[in-house]
Symmetry: C2
Subunit: 290 residues, 2 copies
């Protein structure tokens, strides 16, 4: 079996269309009828992306929310979704969670395909959006001198999963993450680069840095945490909080509440500098596709 | 486990958007930037929709072609595709077939998601198209008095699968079906209703009849066959030939070669009349979602 990373790299070699940035966890952006159409597709497998015993209403919610978060990073309004569904257990719970999430995001179900499969459940969701601002934000635009910001705390999903597994505490942040559509639309006219944090702050910052040809210097004391301070290292590497990470010109202030956590500096061999310490992907920055 | 049909019916109750016709094997059609955006999603599972030992290049081809056939029935030009891919065996063969099919249809890979899953491979493809004619053809527009046509023979995929399984004969029609994009675009301005035949001529004709509120009377001797006459009954019920089935006003002639196989008549309890014999879904019209 090919590794996931090798396969994604091979797909990227095929995907030569100028709007084809939508592999892995970014969106494609294409011109359609004089507007910018934003497209993203996420897949989730039982036992990999969700627990076999997890409430399927929460699974449906997260499937929708993670796609909405991709749209949010483009400053896009949801237009609708298409669902690829493998029949499994508790299909009625899945439907209930799907309907709830789609109503929350005002994202109509436009189509899809339902199949029976002999083993294992795999879910796919394609989300379609309409960009509300041109140029459409991307992870590529950070420039040395820009300030670096995040919309809210990291580590909440980590605590939520621990609560779900232990049965103690509030698991909402893990079960019902939020895609920050309104925040993304408000930020889009002001940012130089933007992406959602799905695989961990340090790893996603490294991706933004690599795409932009810069290095991002982060001050850990400035990063808002959902956890106690002693779990900082984990919280910086844990994904699924779906906060928006963005850069702005140094003299600009974001139009919504956000936390300034660092700045972009001239490119350095390390994509991220944490408290003065250069870090590369080899240092374990977050969830890695193996 | 919910039945596939029950789940699709439940999804249809959620899908209240006026453009949301894209459940099961039809496309969604929505307004975007003053144009009609056509969207479809197909999922395929190993062991259900393709043989575990089948060449993954052929599997990729069919995944693309079946989606392109959905676009063809709307008279749409391909804009691009998003792929949901579960890593499996022969991923390099899948990539080769994908690249070949996408080049054939001039449909760029715009995005997608690759996942590792513990068991069984499930593939998903979302195809995006641009309608070339308004109103966009649907399966709903057939009227009593219209003539009924098909673009080419049925039964070819059936013979192709038999050739593949036996190792004797030509399996191309099963392995490498064609989505009739150019034919769909040529027909779109002239048809009253159109759809692709993916689940069998009689079953898909019954769907067109039900959607249109009419009955379709078919003369079996007029149906072009890829098989010998003694397999007529099977060929009328076998899918995956991806021919286009369409109706036209009685005085119109199609702009491309096609076969006139019957006509629309006033609605009757049976959606299809074959050689004077009323047939309903209970008579076994083709591949049924169970």
């Amino acid at each position: 079996m090919t590794s996931e990373l090798a396969f994604i790299q091979a797909l990227r070699r095929i995907a030569t269309h100028p709007g084809a940035r939508g592999l892995d966890d970014d969106c494609a952006v294409i011109e359609f009828g004089g507007e910018a159409l934003v497209l993203t597709h996420d897949a989730m497998a039982e036992g990999v992306h969700y627990l076999p015993e997890q409430d399927r209403a929460d699974v449906a919610w997260k499937l929708v929310a993670s796609n909405m978060s991709d749209l949010a990073a483009k400053g896009a309004d949801p237009v609708g979704v298409l669902l690829g569904y493998t029949l499994g257990r508790d299909d009625d719970r899945f439907l209930a969670g799907l309907q709830e999430a789609l109503a929350h995001y005002n994202a109509p179900l436009l189509g899809g395909d339902t199949i029976a499969a002999p083993e294992g459940q795999v879910l796919g969701l394609t989300a379609i959006g309409r960009a509300t601002h041109r140029p459409v934000p991307s992870r590529k635009g950070a420039k040395a001198g820009d300030t670096l910001w995040i919309t809210g705390p990291v580590g909440a999903a980590m605590l939520g999963l621990e609560a779900l597994l232990s049965g103690v505490g509030d698991s909402t942040a893990y079960r019902r993450p939020q895609g920050l559509i309104e925040e993304g639309k408000a930020l889009a006219p002001h940012v130089t680069a933007m992406m959602d944090v799905s695989d961990g702050l340090l790893l996603d910052a490294a991706r933004m840095a690599r795409a932009s040809g810069t290095t991002l210097a982060i001050e850990s004391t400035a990063v808002p945490l959902a956890t106690l301070e002693d779990r900082l290292a984990e919280a910086l590497r844990w994904g699924e909080d779906y906060q928006l990470l963005f850069t702005m010109p140094s003299d600009a202030e974001p139009p919504i509440p956000a936390h300034r956590i660092g700045r972009a500096v001239p490119a350095n061999p390390a994509p991220v500098i944490l408290d003065g310490q250069p870090l590369t992907e080899k240092d374990g920055l977050g969830y890695q596709h193996t």
